[in-house]
Symmetry: C2
Subunit: 167 residues, 2 copies
């Protein structure tokens, strides 16, 4: 089971943090906690997605990242300073993982507490992209297609919008 | 060569559009054009990254998406309504591609003009994640490591920050 810890959310990053949560859900993680500024709008908008599209993804805010570090899990901090994903992914597959993503100004302690510091490329890009690639590799390039208790569902289509809904 | 067309940028999505551009660059695309509202800050911040980190990624704004559709390229529109990536990626590899990503309210014409409408999962998540996964698949899971004319460069490391700089 994969949990995500998103550090140091700022209000201006509202959409990035929301995209992190939706990406976590869509690629098979079970929950995300974000620290930094609280923002009930993020929680509401992610919970609305879960309510409509199904599954049981959980999102919450926490004040203190130190209490959120899950020492029973393998802690994988995604950072462009870290070791190459391709060199470490085999060790990580199948493990019970907490993925940690910044936020700016990640405290030094995170690098030390993490079991792995992993880079998805060593160029600046996006925590959303990094999270997606990590989860995609972890899942052997499979993207979940089934979410329980959906009210809306899409069937892949060449040109049209095939939407099923139910109550 | 891969070009990205990001449709219908809104000011509130400043960071998402910036992340799209940085993700495009980091995963090997050569340029991104965004339509919708113009925002010189986005262009400046991406150009600052290129200046420091190297390569020759280009970003620009355009008023009218219709003039930006590259009919000589294979046009791949990423949408959660589209066909599964895994069913189409073999056909796409090696082609000269324009990747098109929303923005909200993608016009119907995009679905029709696109040679492929491709989904990276059929759940709501993020254009940043979709773009990253598409480029990662297209590149056979390789992430570019060399960018010419860098002034700053990172060497992957287990726990520390290994940064090289030059003028």
């Amino acid at each position: 089971m994969i949990s995500v810890l998103r550090l140091n959310h700022r209000k201006r990053d509202k959409r990035i943090t929301t995209h992190c949560a939706l990406t976590a859900r869509a690629f098979g993680a079970k929950e995300m906690t974000f620290t930094g500024e609280n923002d009930p709008n993020i929680i509401e908008s992610v919970e609305r997605v879960v309510e409509k599209w199904g599954g049981n993804f959980k999102i919450k805010h926490a004040e203190n990242w130190k209490k959120e570090i899950k020492n029973k899990k393998t802690k994988v901090h995604l950072t462009f300073y870290g070791e190459r994903l391709k060199d470490k992914i085999k060790e990580l597959k199948g493990k019970d993982i907490q993925v940690i993503i910044g936020g700016e100004k990640v405290p030094r302690e995170i690098y030390d507490k993490a079991d792995y510091n992993i880079s998805i490329g060593s160029q600046p890009h996006s925590e959303v992209a990094a999270l997606a690639i990590f989860l995609y590799e972890y899942s052997n390039y499979k993207i979940p297609e089934k979410f329980k208790n959906w009210k809306i569902k899409i069937t892949p289509s060449e040109k049209s919008k095939k939407i099923k809904t139910r109550q």
